[in-house]
């Protein structure tokens, strides 16, 4: 068994204007109940046991997978892999003082992917018995063969080490599925209550989405990987309406999803922070309109992560660059690979982006990918220059002559048992600067600028040039200090110029991970969860528009 290293980048989170909130790394169930406060949920809290969910995979599932591989290879596949995936979701949603949703989803099945010549075939079934699995394996091979006949070809898979007995579990101290729904609801309702105490705050929605994926992967190379991945997505949106009903403003995206256990949610202190976020919603009503034009821009990680996702994460996906996503997600301005790799400057010398699948707390963090490739960490932009894409085994081979990399970066993922794995975004993070500048230090380096927190309305074109991104909370910076709140604005730009305008980045103390559960790509569309770490960063002379 091999466990990928966990980098020491578990950092403090900053969720309000400059007041750091430390993420408690170890919070016990007892701490949790103390945090909720006695009497909040009455005696029910203590007595409430979470429903016990079925099981772990065992020899039966392993035998089914190995049989699937054997059948696929015997049917003429050049390579095959198979997965049993059991996905569980739990959603607890509230609105003001009431619960609106308690839902548990449970989906289990097996899939087989087979390679014949240059074409893949894929088939899946929810029936976990030997006969159904054999039919599914043969069907995958038949589809691959039929596809290859339309346009015969060949495809080479990058070399990989074999891991015959590997396992990995998302590091956590509280499995979210052991915390009962009433505990989760009580936490949310208390946070709502705190928010609703603030003047003019009329509406609040909040929710906790928990995900547990148990994934077994077997390959015809001989790897066998057993993993349990946990992710959690707490959220809260607060709406303030003016007394005359004419003005309404919302404050959302107050916290981030993470690839962690429930202790992460407890460390966010939703109840303690709710009044701060609610106050921001109320203040937004009276915020000033921006004077559109050119401004310096200080982006807090809670906003910058999505800008990274859209303008660095997506264009460095190799399948987009090569035209495989042309009919939906689009292509990439970083094309063709041989002309841009090692040549295209996207930012200043100090700008370093890493792709990784092993950052602590990352939503795309894992032990191995869907092709049993171990988690990797690699430079995508080094010293400001684009140097590598995100790859799977077949993709790594396509660009090996230009990158010198003969191995996959381990970016294969299928969203569930019904879905064929393909290249998905890893965590793509902007590394903090060598000098440990804080959030305040970066603001202090700005004479006239706008400070942006939280993700707002985001839109970017299908080659990732024209961006128009908004936020949740905007502050005008004058002479190195935040002054008054602004509202209803967006920053617009063209990706290469935007990143080349990066002029100051924060250090370790301003670094944290933002994330999304909803990274969409592929046809049929699949969603991927991904995180992006970054420090607070200053961009010079960016175009600002009024979106009111």
């Amino acid at each position: 068994m091999r466990i990928p290293p966990i980098p020491n980048n578990h950092r403090a989170s900053v969720t309000d204007c400059g007041t750091p909130i430390h993420l408690a790394s170890e919070v016990s169930r007892r701490d949790f109940m103390r945090m909720l406060g006695a009497g909040t949920a009455g005696g029910a809290l203590l007595g409430a046991a979470a429903p016990v969910l079925p099981q772990n995979f065992g020899d039966l599932e392993k035998a089914l997978l190995l049989n699937a591989i054997d059948v696929a290879m015997a049917s003429g596949a050049d390579y095959a892999d198979a997965r049993i995936i059991h996905t569980r979701f739990e959603a607890v949603g509230t609105r003001e003082y009431t619960i609106t949703q308690v839902q548990n989803t449970d989906s289990l099945g097996i899939n087989v992917r087979a390679l014949v010549g240059g074409s893949w075939g894929f088939s899946a079934t929810p029936n976990l018995n030997a006969d159904a699995v054999a039919v599914t394996a043969r069907e995958a091979v038949a589809i691959a063969r039929a596809n290859d006949q339309v346009a015969p070809g060949s495809l080479s898979l990058a070399e990989v080490d074999v891991y015959p007995d590997a396992s990995w579990t998302t590091p956590h101290s509280i499995d979210p599925f052991t915390v009962s729904v009433d505990d989760k609801a009580a936490l949310l309702l208390r946070a709502n209550e705190e928010a609703l105490r603030v003047r003019n705050v009329s509406y609040v929605t909040s929710s906790i989405l928990s995900v547990k994926e148990q994934r077994l992967v077997a390959t015809s190379d001989g790897s066998f990987v057993d993993q349990t991945l946990l992710r959690i997505n707490p959220s809260m949106t607060i709406t303030a309406i003016s007394a005359d009903g004419r003005e309404f403003q919302t404050r959302g995206s107050v916290v981030e999803p993470a690839g962690r256990g429930f202790e992460y949610v407890l460390g966010l202190d939703l109840v303690g922070n709710a009044p701060i976020w609610a106050d921001e919603a109320a203040q937004k009503q009276f915020a000033a309109r921006v004077d559109p034009g050119v401004w310096d821009l200080v982006l807090h990680p809670s906003n910058l992560w999505l800008t990274i996702h859209e303008s660095i994460g997506h264009p460095t996906e190799l399948d987009r660059a090569l035209g495989f996503e042309a009919n939906y997600a689009g292509t990439s301005f970083l094309h063709p690979p041989e002309s841009v790799l090692g040549r295209t400057r996207l930012g200043p010398e100090f700008m370093q982006f890493n792709g990784n699948r092993n950052e602590f707390g990352g939503c795309a963090t894992t032990g191995w990918d869907d092709e049993a490739v171990p988690a990797d960490s690699w430079p995508i932009i080094a010293d400001g220059v684009f140097v590598d894409y995100q790859t799977t085994r077949e993709q790594a081979a396509m660009i090996a002559p230009y990158t010198g990399n003969t191995r996959s970066h381990g970016c294969s993922y299928g969203q569930n048992w019904q879905s064929m794995p393909f290249q998905r975004m890893p965590n793509v993070s902007l590394l903090p600067g060598e000098e440990d500048l804080s959030d305040d230090d970066v603001i202090a380096a700005t004479d006239r600028g706008i400070y942006v927190e939280g993700r707002g309305s985001y839109s970017i074109d299908q080659q990732r040039y024209n961006m128009q991104f908004a936020g949740q909370v905007f502050w005008e910076i004058r002479n190195g200090r935040k002054t008054r709140m602004l509202k209803e604005l967006a920053y617009v730009g063209r990706t290469p110029e935007f990143w080349n305008s990066l002029s100051v980045i924060g250090g370790d103390s301003s670094y944290f991970l933002g994330a999304s559960f909803g990274d969409a790509k592929g046809q049929p569309i699949q969603v991927n969860a991904v995180s992006h770490g970054c420090p607070t960063s200053l961009f010079r002379r960016v175009q600002i528009i009024n979106t009111a």
Binding site: P54, S119, V150, V181, D244, G245, A326, P524
Partner: protein, 448 residues
């Protein structure tokens, strides 16, 4: 004739009854989604993936008093169903009370809709591959690179309650979209169709249109600004899909919508051009949807905008009970009444304007003005003195849809369009091409 995909009415009924019998809750609701999805995907002039899977998902909602929770599972064996029922009951017992919960519905007067087409349900992978091959061949001949997707769905759904309601519906859907690009990456064209009935998908026309668009669209510079625009039906559909979310009375009454007015909503007010009529109808031919909601309310034909006037807003059962009105479910499809103007007439009548084929990455900016941003894609042309003068760069728009519907100048005949950005079978949208004044093309996009 092949057997229809998805569980048949008897099986849906018997699984629902089995679950309702296992239930120990005060009330219980069972929803079943059962069906098959097949697909064929092309990129770089090759089939890159094809496949299919059947699945049946059962949603069990258990209610104790007004404590409510649900469990979704795809495991139908007896012991798994029992486990799922118990899990939803355990969750419901733990859930805090929901004061907005209203008791499960009893039998309803639901007018059945037939939305299942055998042409789609029996569509074989080989037929999908043939359609794909037509486009690949045509693209190769034109020295272009094809990327396409065909999404096919066929199945059934049902809802049953412990109060005696049962309703079921079978449906099919197919979406076929094609993007052709030039090898140098400087030209791109798109075409697509969506239907319930496979025989309405015109594979050859789609191949012709995408190849033609790609050949004709090599951009030249045009400044951003406010333009008269001609929106092809797909472009209109992608915007009108967003209108669908705006007809909510609670949001209007609470001051969060374009349809809000201090102290109430704007029902009955004339808000748009009088040629704007929008309705939904689950029985509309080749845009059929289920005639009931997830909780079993009947869905019927409903006019939302009538000759520019706000005619209706949807109300949940709870909001209806608060406002003393009957409940009115959200639209399940959207049909915009068309006109008689052809695209050629719209172009001929335009001194200076921009023709837009479709959009990408549409996101909300302001619900009070129904303002959205997004980008044009795969075919943007300058019109001068009544004719297309040249292909131009793509644009980002920042535009209030309310203003757009106030500035309508011409309307074409309505057609079903592939309105979802990801080209999956989506909410059926039937709309005309439209000529609109004062549309905000606010910045240039270099993307192709």
């Amino acid at each position: 004739m092949a057997e229809a995909r998805g569980l048949n009415d008897n099986d849906l009924r018997s699984i629902s009854e089995r679950i309702l019998q296992l239930s120990e809750a005060d009330q219980c609701r069972v929803s079943i989604q059962s069906g098959w999805r097949g697909y064929t995907r092309v990129a770089t002039n090759r089939i890159t993936s094809a496949g299919g899977a059947e699945n049946t998902e059962v949603t069990i909602t258990s209610v104790f008093g007004n404590r409510v929770a649900s469990t979704i599972s795809n495991r139908l064996e007896d012991d798994a169903l029992l486990q799922a029922v118990r899990r939803s009951e355990d969750l419901a017992r733990l859930a805090p009370p929901n004061p907005e919960y209203l008791a499960e519905l009893g039998p309803q007067n639901i007018v059945p809709v037939s939305g299942y087409y055998d042409s789609t349900g029996a569509l074989a992978p080989g037929t999908r591959a043939e359609a794909a091959a037509i486009a690949i061949r045509q693209a190769e001949v034109a020295n272009q690179i094809a990327a396409s997707y065909m999404d096919v769905r066929a199945g059934s759904e049902s809802v049953a309650t412990s109060s005696g309601l049962f309703a079921s519906h079978a449906s099919t859907g197919v979406a076929y979209t094609l993007t052709c690009r030039s090898p140098d990456g400087l030209q791109s064209g798109w075409a697509g169709d969506e239907a319930n009935d496979w025989t309405r998908i015109e594979s050859q026309r789609i191949a012709n249109d995408a190849v033609r668009k790609c050949r004709s669209w090599r951009k030249s510079d045009l400044d951003p600004g406010q333009y008269t625009v001609i929106l092809e039906p797909t472009a209109v559909g992608m915007l009108m899909l967003r209108m669908l979310n705006s007809f909510d009375q609670r949001a209007a009454d609470e001051g969060r919508s374009f349809f809000s007015r201090p102290g109430g909503n704007r029902l009955g007010e004339r808000l748009f051009d009088d040629r704007v009529t929008l309705f939904s109808d689950p029985a509309y031919a080749d845009a059929e949807t289920a005639p009931f909601t997830a909780d079993g309310q009947p869905v019927e034909r409903q006019i939302w905008l009538n000759a520019g006037r706000l005619n209706n807003l949807s109300r949940s059962r709870y909001w209806a009970s608060q406002t003393g009105q009957p409940a009115l479910p959200r639209p399940t499809n959207l049909i915009m009444q068309g006109g008689n103007d052809t695209l050629a007439e719209m172009i001929a009548s335009t001194r200076r304007g921009v023709l837009l084929s479709r959009f990408w990455y549409i996101r909300g900016l302001n619900p009070r003005t129904i303002a959205y941003t997004g980008l044009s894609r795969d075919g943007t042309y300058l019109i001068e003195n009544g004719r297309i003068s040249r292909p131009v760069n793509n644009f980002r728009f920042n535009q209030s849809l309310a203003s757009m519907l106030q500035n309508v100048e011409m309307l074409g005949p309505s057609v079903r369009v592939a309105a979802s950005e990801n080209s999956s079978v989506g909410t059926p949208i039937v709309v005309p091409a439209m000529k609109v004044g004062r549309f905000n093309l606010s910045s240039v996009s270099d993307a192709i």
